[in-house]
Every structure is written in C-alpha cells, then in structure tokens.
Symmetry: C2
Subunit: 391 residues, 2 copies
C-alpha cells in the first residue's frame, strides 16, 4: 500500500484508511501497536512499515520483516470496498459510532472494528449483555441460553455473543426469535461465515442486528484470534453471562476479562453432575454472580450507569437524531404502544430496519419496549426533550 496522501482526502480520512490497513498487519490485541501509534499515528506507522528496514524497539528483525511483508500486501481501499459490498463499514476511535467503553482495554484496544449491519454499534452496546458458553453444550445449556436471551431481548437488551455453535448460537437465536436485538463478535472477517453451519443464522443477524470483527474482510479464524476476540465481547457489554462451561473453557476467559474490566460477571448454575457446569460453578465460587433468569441479569447490569434502568430521559436531543431514526421516532404516538410492523409501515421502511432503529432509540432513552409493543418514554414526550435547546 502507499502512505502518500490521496488527492482531496482529509487527515482524518487518511488516519482511518491507515488504521484499516493496520488491521491487516497486526494481530488483534497486540499491545505493541499502541506504543508504535504514539509517535506518528496510524499514518506514520504505515509509512514506517513501508520505509523503515531496522526494527523499532521491542521488535526482532524477523518479526518486523514479517509485519512489513503484510503491510506491503495490504489494500485498505479494496478492503473498505469489499466491506461496503456486504453492508459493512470500518469504525475507529474518534468516530461517533465508536463504543467508548472499548477504551477500557488500554493498550489492547482494537485498532478499529469492521461492523456489518444497519444499526449504530455505540448505541446498541450501551444496553448490551454478553452471553457465552460451551460450543458442545447440553440441551439444558441450549434451553437456558435461548430462554435467557429471548427474555433479555424482550426487555430491550442487546444480546452479544461469538456466533459459535452451542450456547452462542442459542443466545443469538433466542434474541432473534423474540424479535429482539443481537450482535455477533467474530474471530474472522465480517464477510466470512464461521462456523459454516451458521450461514443462515449469520444472515439473520446481519438483517436484524450486527456482526462485528477486528479483522478485515476475508481473514480466517485461528485459535489465538478466538481468545483475543473474547476481550472485545467482555469490554463491549455491561456484563457477561456464562451458560455452561467446562473447567479451563474459553468462556471463563471472557468472564474473567469482564471482571478485570469492571463489568458484571455472571454465571448460570447447572447440575453438579454435569462437567459442562463445572467451570461455571468454579466461577461462581470465585467471583461471579449467580443468575437464574433475565430479571437477575437486569438487576445487576441495569442498576448503575448513565443508561441503566434508572436513567431519566434521552441523552441526545430529538433534532440531532439521524434522519432514519427521526423518521421512526415521529411515528410513535404520544400515548400507548405500537408494534414494530406498524412503525415500519408509518416510517416507510421494512420491519427489520424499524426494529433496529427502535433499539437505537431505546438506547438513547426515547422509547421503551413492552412485550410486542413500543412506546415513547415518559421523558421523551415532555416538550423539554424535543429540541437541542432544551439540553
């Protein structure tokens, strides 16, 4: 790739492009990247990779050589185009869609996220819970994950998981089945389907939710990528629920990452005769909260924070909303509830899009979900919250 400034592009756009290129060069979560970015930013690092033959401090010659070889093959414009073709975009720190809570990861903060789907990642993440667990889960685990996810979605929470077989899949399906919101954070490119058997599920997630990855289009998953991906799930969400995990399971890594980041760590108990509950019980004995249903989860994750259950009203004024969200908001009556399909009809869009916007508006404090109905919050109908002057 070239480090030269493209004609007409702004420094911000150049920095984005450089960050997109770097997602092809460095493995996710590499803490050395942050140090390298400190000097000349992403663009400076791209230029350095192109021209500097002697390795910077902390890098061996062979490692630097390997990174330079990757950088030489990086084509960020093509990656951005490939992403756009599947309805994805690249979100980086500083963007309005960047979830600020990822900054808690410090040096291991992602360079950026490739995001596929129509809704706003930042808004959704504000009211999200991670559900993780065994791939080879039992019927009990699948049942609990599905029910819990459905109930959380029903109550307006976004269910975040890893898109894998077992607990992850059951959680995504549970949320989707309740007409709710779900996001999958993958350990491969957002245009790849891993596992292959989840092709239909991924399609539905893209339509109704979000697929997120640190890796650029086309990248394959590797064992270490699964591990480092877990920190993103933990950091993005208000808390992590583990449903079935054996001793030394990757799900426990996610839960402990959540714990270190000050997020709520929760576990669903199971039979002590089941090896797939042993890891959860280990976690419950050490640090996690025991949860048995959605109410238990919401009691924890909804209790504090600026957008929890206790919030008093919208955090952005009505006239600063994106046009799509504003159109959906305009459909909601001052009193009573409407269904998502009625909202879609009123806003001249499809139901999936209406649902996505409604979740965004819920995260912003404008609307609430009650079963199948949506209604304006008490605060949203007050005139004071209708324009930016009121703030």
């Amino acid at each position: 790739m070239s480090g030269a400034r493209a004609p007409g592009s702004s420094p911000v756009a150049e920095e984005r492009l450089a960050r997109a290129a770097l997602t092809r060069v460095f493995e996710p979560g590499d803490p050395k990247v942050t140090a390298l970015l400190r000097d000349g930013g992403a663009k400076g690092l791209v230029i350095g990779l192109a021209g500097r033959t002697d390795p910077p401090r902390g890098f061996t010659a062979s490692r630097w050589q390997g990174l330079r070889a990757r950088a030489a093959r990086a084509r960020p414009e093509q990656d951005l185009e490939a992403a756009a073709r599947v309805g994805a975009r690249f979100v980086c720190p500083g963007d309005t869609e960047w979830p600020a809570q990822l900054d808690d990861l410090g040096a291991a903060r992602p360079l950026g996220l490739w995001v596929r789907g129509t809704v706003d990642l930042r808004m959704w993440a504000l009211r999200s819970v991670a559900m993780v667990g065994a791939r080879a889960c039992t019927q009990y685990g699948a049942h609990v994950a599905g029910t819990l996810a459905a109930d959380l979605a029903e109550r307006g929470w976004v269910v975040v998981s890893g898109g894998a077989y077992g607990v992850d899949g059951a959680a995504h399906r549970g949320a989707l089945g309740a007409g709710g919101a779900t996001a999958a954070v993958l350990a491969c490119g957002i245009d790849r389907c891993y596992p292959a058997g989840h092709a239909q599920l991924m399609k539905r997630i893209v339509q109704q939710g979000l697929i997120v990855s640190e890796l650029p289009p086309g990248e394959h998953p590797t064992p270490s990528r699964f591990v480092v991906r877990n920190r993103v799930i933990a950091a993005l969400t208000r808390g992590t629920v583990v449903v079935e995990a054996a001793h030394r399971s990757g799900s426990l890594v996610t839960a402990r990452a959540a714990q270190r980041l000050g997020r709520h760590t929760m576990g669903v108990p199971g039979p002590v005769t089941s090896g797939l509950s042993a890891g959860v019980h280990e976690l419950l004995r050490a640090e996690a909260h025991l949860v048995t249903d959605a109410a238990d989860v919401i009691e924890l994750v909804g209790a504090v924070g600026e957008l929890g259950e206790e919030r008093r009203g919208p955090v952005v004024p009505r006239d600063l909303l994106a046009p799509e969200a504003a159109r959906v908001l305009a459909v909601l009556p001052a009193r009573g509830t409407v269904t998502a399909s009625d909202v879609a009809l009123g806003a001249a869009t499809v139901t999936d899009d209406a649902v996505a916007r409604l979740y965004e508006l819920q995260a912003l404090g404008f609307v609430e979900r009650h079963g199948d109905g949506w209604q304006l919050t008490r605060q949203a109908v007050q005139p004071g919250f209708s324009t930016s002057d009121a703030l």
Copy 2:
C-alpha cells in the same frame, strides 16, 4: 409426677429426672423455659408446676393451667425406662455427652436430648455436617445427596439429617452405604418411626449411628416440631448443606439458622429450570457457599476449629478413654491400616460397634479413615499421647 427426692438419688440425678419430665411439659425450643429454670432449676420448676396455681410472669392463666396438666401426667422414670428398653438415654447440659455447641442456641437450648444408639453424641457432633433438602426431591437431588453423604462419610465425617423422605433419606442411606456414620434428629420420640416408610432405615441408623430428639418417648411430630427441630440440626453440626429446596422450604430455615449460629451454610446448585433448586439458588445468592462435592464441603467445615483438619493430636489421653473405645484402639497397629471388620474381630465385638467406636476415636484425634482402612494418627503413635500424664 412427684417433686419429692427419691431415696438415695443425688441432686444431679434429681435435676436430670426433672429435665426429662420437663421435655414432656414444654414444647421444644420454648425460650420461656430458660427464664423459669433460672430461679430454682429444673427441679424447682417441676415443684412449681405441681404446686403453684397463679401463673408466673409471661404466662396466661390458661397456658399455665395447660402446662400444669401436662406436668401432672409426666412420668419421667417411666420415660427413662421406655428409652432404655430401645437402647436410648437422656443426655442433658452438664453431662459429658452433652454437645457444648448446642449452648449457642441460648434461650432456645434444648432441655436435654433423648439419644438412641451406642456412640457418643458429643464426639460425633464435633465432626459432623448436616444435609437437608426437599422431601419430594428429584432423582438429581437424591443422587447428589447420596453421593455427597457417602463421600463425606468416607472421609470420616458424620452426616446429620432429619430422617425424612427425599434428601434426608438419601443422605442417611449414602452414609450408611459407605459404611459410615450418620445421625437422624427427629421431630418425634426416638422410639417412634416417622415417616413409617423409613422403619428399616431407622433400624439401620440405630445400629450404625444415632437417633436424637428433644421429645420424650411416644411423642408425635407436629408441623411446628419440624420447624424447631431444624435449629438442633443446625446447631449440632459444623455446617449445613442444602440439596434441593423450593422457595420458602423448611430446609432454608435450617440453613439460615446455621448461618445465624455462625455455622457454614452451603448449597448444591442445580438446573435453573428446576423449581426444587430455586430455593438453593436463592440461598446461594444471599449468604451460602456454593459446593459441588465433598471436597468443597470439607474445605469449609474442616478449615477451622479445635477439631478440624488442622488439629495436631488427641484431645483426651488414651487412659481416660471409655473401656469399649480403649479396646478398639488397642487393636490398631502402630503402622498401616486395618479394616473395621478386623478391628471388630480383634476387639471381640460386632462390626457396627467397631465402626461406631472408630468414629469416636477419630473425633478424639486417635485414628483416621482412609477408604476402607483405619489407622492411628501420627500423633496417636507418639508415646507422649499414651497417658494422661503427658497432657
């Protein structure tokens, strides 16, 4: 009954007899008894019940009348004889067999305990764990209770429960099946079999362990007697494990009593889809430790206290042992293990009796159980511990 002193009886014997009589007069756990005993002791109270027509402070005339009527019908000598006929005795505060930890119950301390079986209640209670739970337990609950009790018994712990159907029965059977020690604390007389379906089980418990009750022979269980009985189970043991309990279950009462008494409160988790685990999960969220096996339980109950895992040697000298226990102890070789049946052969007794004595000796720090074998503790083989002079 008569308050007059029987010819040849000592004041201590008279006080015992009076306490035995009072177990027929007052319901277990009545805190007013303690206040009444403060003045003239048990004998004084018996005399008062016989002669005093005006009620003492805190009693209505009709209640006092009712207690007097019960006292008039009490025949403690006959009760002691009835107890002796079924191999039982009356143990009261001050007796060497009285478990001092019951004093933690304060005003609700039992007047005394009717004890059926050949082993020493105090010794056994020092190394005991309570297991309680649902009567209508699931197969899972029965399996877990049985396995846990067997493993605890295997590792030398006495399993205490309430003799009921369900978890209680599974716990007693598990301990017995492992050739271990178990005690049932009943809400009826020690000569009654409640529930009737547990006749065979009770018979085996009497042979291999202990049946204990605050109520004199012949008394029937009542709902309130079950409730107050639970505090004895909680106080007698080092900790209480709840295996399956619905919300508002009596087992949770026992667990909370244990908690208030500073004992360890433990719960075995189960499927969140099972109503019979809901009470346990409630307890685990509030105050109890999550345990999944015998090792978890022993880690808690064995960690502290004068007779826990950390103890260094026998607490009484060898030459102060009861003759039966001394005979058993004399059989054990200086090195290596012997089975209980070999010990029985050597001590010229039956295996059940040998096992009972071995548990007593274990509580006293002389022997240890390893699977099916028994051996002297390292401290017990040191010459310094062989006589009372050494202490």
